[in-house]
């Protein structure tokens, strides 16, 4: 027998199509599951990021409240009448309230900057998720459309080959 030529059909193993169809089905099944795991992981990370954002927003609100309270305390202090030892009116000493207000203001600035950074991180996350999603869509199309379609084609090849093999058996049987 001459070696296989590209013009001729050469099939060394009649089970090749069955084997390929099985492998493709397994690949589709396993990788649909793998894609789902990636999605779950991303969902968990995004949830975690969202919780961190909410925590940082809460800190900004708390810092706002503290600053408002410190402002109130400072204004109260400044409006309180104060007198020296000789009973003359003097400017009240509000240094502790001023210090508390300064601290509260700094805490608010820090909380706000942390929240801004968090928002920037979230923008990065969204950008990266979109980039990933493009690649995922192509892969999902492969799993949902292209590979199942190739299984159909292989199935047709298998049927043709079975018919051919049956034909040969019948001919041999006649002899």
């Amino acid at each position: 027998m001459a070696g296989p030529s590209r013009k001729d059909a050469y099939i060394g193993n009649p089970e090749i199509f069955i084997k390929l169809m099985g492998s493709i089905d397994t690949f589709i099944q396993q990788n649909n599951e793998n894609v789902r795991k990636v999605d779950d992981w991303m969902f968990d990370v995004e949830n975690e990021l969202q919780k961190i954002k909410e925590l940082l927003e809460q800190r900004v609100m708390d810092a706002h409240t503290k600053l408002q309270n410190a402002d109130f305390e400072l204004n109260m202090c400044r409006s309180m009448p104060s007198y020296d030892s000789e009973n003359r009116p003097q400017k009240p000493n509000c240094s502790s309230q001023e210090s508390a207000r300064l601290k509260a203001k700094r805490q608010l600035d820090v909380a706000q900057k942390n929240l801004n950074q968090m928002n920037e991180l979230l923008r990065y996350a969204q950008k990266f998720a979109r980039e990933y999603d493009d690649k995922k869509q192509n892969f999902v199309k492969l799993l949902d459309n292209k590979l199942p379609s190739s299984v159909s084609t292989l199935h047709k090849h298998h049927q043709i080959m079975q018919e051919y093999l049956n034909l040969n058996i019948n001919r041999n049987g006649e002899k």
């Binding site: 296989p4 590209r6 013009k7 001729d8 059909a9 050469y10 099939i11 060394g12 193993n13 090749i16 084997k19 390929l20 492998s23 493709i24 397994t26 690949f27 396993q30 990788n31 599951e33 793998n34 795991k37 990636v38 992981w41 991303m42 990370v45 975690e48 990021l49 961190i52 925590l55 940082l56 820090v110 909380a111 900057k113 942390n114 950074q117 968090m118 920037e120 991180l121 990065y124 996350a125 990266f128 998720a129 980039e131 990933y132 493009d134 690649k135 995922k136 192509n138 892969f139 199309k141 492969l142 292209k146 590979l147 190739s150 084609t153 292989l154 090849h157």
Partner: protein
């Protein structure tokens, strides 16, 4: 036949180094699947086989490689982002030197380039 047994033995003995928990599950299914597809021409060699090689084997390999690179990428980038976000929740976050948005982008990109320079491109 003997050669086939040796190949099977090599296939079974193939061990993958762990990369990350998202990519690792793709190792076995992709490696063995494409190994099998690439060997198709040994037992099936005609015009239909050639078409199968182009339309299924090569195409699937490219799409899968691209996707797994995307998974590597998103794992690395999300991990860096989560790590940076968790730092912002620390009690002393923001009281030291500020990380600018440029620094932030560099941290993310550095994490990713580390992945790209160290990765093994021949897994699929």
């Amino acid at each position: 036949m003997a050669r086939s047994n040796t190949n099977n033995q090599q296939t079974q003995e193939h061990k993958f180094e762990s990369i990350n928990p998202l990519v690792d599950p793709f190792h076995d299914s992709c490696y063995y699947f494409f190994q099998e597809l690439n060997k198709v021409s040994e037992v099936w060699d005609d015009a239909a086989s050639e078409s199968f090689r182009h339309e299924v084997t090569v195409h699937s390999q490219n799409i899968t490689k691209n996707y797994v690179e995307g998974v590597l990428d998103i794992y690395e980038k999300y991990s860096v982002i989560l790590e940076q976000a968790q730092k912002l929740t620390k009690w002393n976050a923001g009281f030291g030197g500020w990380m600018s948005f440029l620094d932030l982008s560099m941290v993310v990109e550095r994490g990713v380039s580390r992945l790209f320079f160290n990765r093994d491109d021949h897994r699929l």
